[in-house]
Amino acid sequence: MSEFAYGGSVRASPDPGSCTDAEWSDYVFNRAGSPGIKREWWCHIASGYWFIVERDTLRDVVLATFPADAARKGFIPPVPAP
């Protein structure tokens, strides 16, 4: 039992109506797998609240958090240099 659930990296989807099969499979399957500072979806299980976390996936340190609609509203601050 965990208080928070991981929802994967924040990734921009290509337009499914106009992208190629290769672009779509790249979006569906491929990942940026190396360690680094990533923006991720996390959910607070008790309240069902989804939000974005900026986390160093090598050191497991949370650097910042944003509300879920930060992505939708286009407000994504640049990732700080490592």
Binding site: R31, G33, S34, P35, T57
Partner: protein, 413 residues
């Protein structure tokens, strides 16, 4: 007392034959370079030298031999998979495992114990029957069994699992076995070393040079090596190496933890897996219970182990075996699992000529060590994928032709 023994005892030096040669220098070029001296990398080197006459090979290891996932797994060997590609592949591995101790003249403590995948629901039993039928079709000994059979073979189990998740049956796989995990790396390593392969520890790959769309060489912490063939077999570090050649894959890295108890008297013959309880356990020749559970549910590139893992796994172990309450946990650790969306590996040639990949081994790599060595050495030597790995190509995702083995993975996800 024999004279030689007396003389040995009185001499000032007691030389032991070393397992491997230590090479002072890295040569400027090799016919092939293998990145990663774990079980897979060393097995590939062994078969390259033994079966394909390629001895001018270097295996580069940034840490120590078998220090990665080869030294961190829970040592289960089985072939009771779900897809035809998977069953044929892992069955070949089990066959190879059985003769390895003799081939190596090294005791791998390979022990056939029988393997139970417990079903706690009717839906789970359906999957067990499916796996049993696919297995039988390819001559692999697996069968769906009922709860009575489970209770007879494992008398000490609480068949009700503390009334939380009663066992309704299981997939019983008689060839299931365990072995001493790092011994396979030592065995393959020594065999490769004796045939001329060079193993270089404390040697980190920092870059891969290409020219005209082909591999030209490898940059290391000890200098540049020219080579036309590179095999990447680094498990949890795969994305970092792939960044060096600009290759994208679905691989994502999560920690996988494990723990081991103090030694106790032998009471558990078979290997037990429960997908519902997220537990797998076996008892080693030394009496220790080696236990594992699900992947950590988030990406992390650190092999660290946590208290909540031990607490959660212990609770589920006690559901099945309540009498273990006083047994102490001696040690806990983790490895870095390179996961794929279909729970099948990524093996073979890549779009970069001369660059071969053996990755995406997630939580299912240890059992495949011998067949991986055999198929990857063939692939590297000939430049073409071995038939047994055709279901595991890197391009299957772009073709939407996944090899779906999630139903046969023993690790919770």
């Amino acid at each position: 007392m024999p004279y030689r023994l007396l003389r040995f005892g009185l001499s000032r030096k007691h030389p032991e034959p070393p397992m491997f040669r230590r090479h002072a220098a890295l040569r400027g070029s090799y016919d092939a370079v293998i990145i990663g001296a774990g079980g897979h990398g060393l097995a590939s080197a062994y078969y390259l030298a033994r079966d394909h006459g390629m001895r001018n090979v270097a295996v580069l290891e940034k840490g120590y031999i078998g220090g990665g996932n080869t030294g961190r797994n829970t040592t289960i060997i089985r072939s009771n998979y779900l897809t035809p590609e998977g069953v044929k592949f892992y069955d070949e591995s089990v066959r190879l495992w059985q003769d390895l101790s003799e081939d190596f003249d090294l005791n791998l403590f390979y022990s056939t114990r029988g393997h139970f995948t417990l079903a706690h629901t009717d839906a789970a039993m359906r999957t067990m029957r499916w796996r049993a039928e696919v297995n039988k079709h390819f001559g692999v000994r697996s069968e769906a069994v009922d709860a009575d059979f489970v209770k007879r073979m494992i008398p000490m189990i609480d068949i009700t699992c503390a009334h939380h998740a009663p066992i309704v049956g299981a997939l019983y796989h008689a060839p299931g076995a365990i072995a001493r995990h790092d011994a396979v790396a030592w065995g393959y390593g020594r065999g490769a070393d004796r045939r001329g392969v060079e193993i270089h520890q404390q040697t980190e790959v920092t870059g891969i040079r290409t020219q005209g769309g082909k591999v030209a060489g490898v940059e290391t912490s000890r200098g540049f090596i020219a080579t036309p063939k590179v095999l990447c077999a680094v498990a949890g570090y795969t994305p970092r190496i792939l960044d060096m050649v600009g290759l994208r894959t679905p691989i994502y890295i999560h920690p996988l933890q494990a723990m081991v108890s103090e030694p106790v008297k032998p009471w558990l013959d078979p290997i037990i897996v429960s997908g519902s309880l997220h537990v797998y356990v076996s008892q080693t020749a030394r009496g220790e219970l080696v236990m594992g559970a699900s992947l950590d549910p988030y990406e992390l590139h650190q092999a660290r182990s946590t208290l909540d893992f031990v607490e959660g796994l212990s609770a589920h172990m006690l559901d099945m075996f309540p009498f273990l309450g006083e047994v102490k946990i001696n040690r806990q650790w983790a490895g870095l699992a390179d996961m794929t969306p279909d729970f099948a590996p990524i093996m073979g040639v890549t779009p970069l000529e001369g660059f071969y990949l053996d990755a995406g081994w997630g939580t299912w790599g240890f059992k495949a060590t011998p067949v991986c060595g055999k198929t990857m050495s063939h692939t590297v030597a000939t430049g073409r994928n071995h038939p047994l790995i055709e279901g595991f190509t890197i391009d299957r995702f772009s073709r939407y032709m996944l090899t779906g083995e999630k139903g046969a993975a023993s690790v919770g996800h």
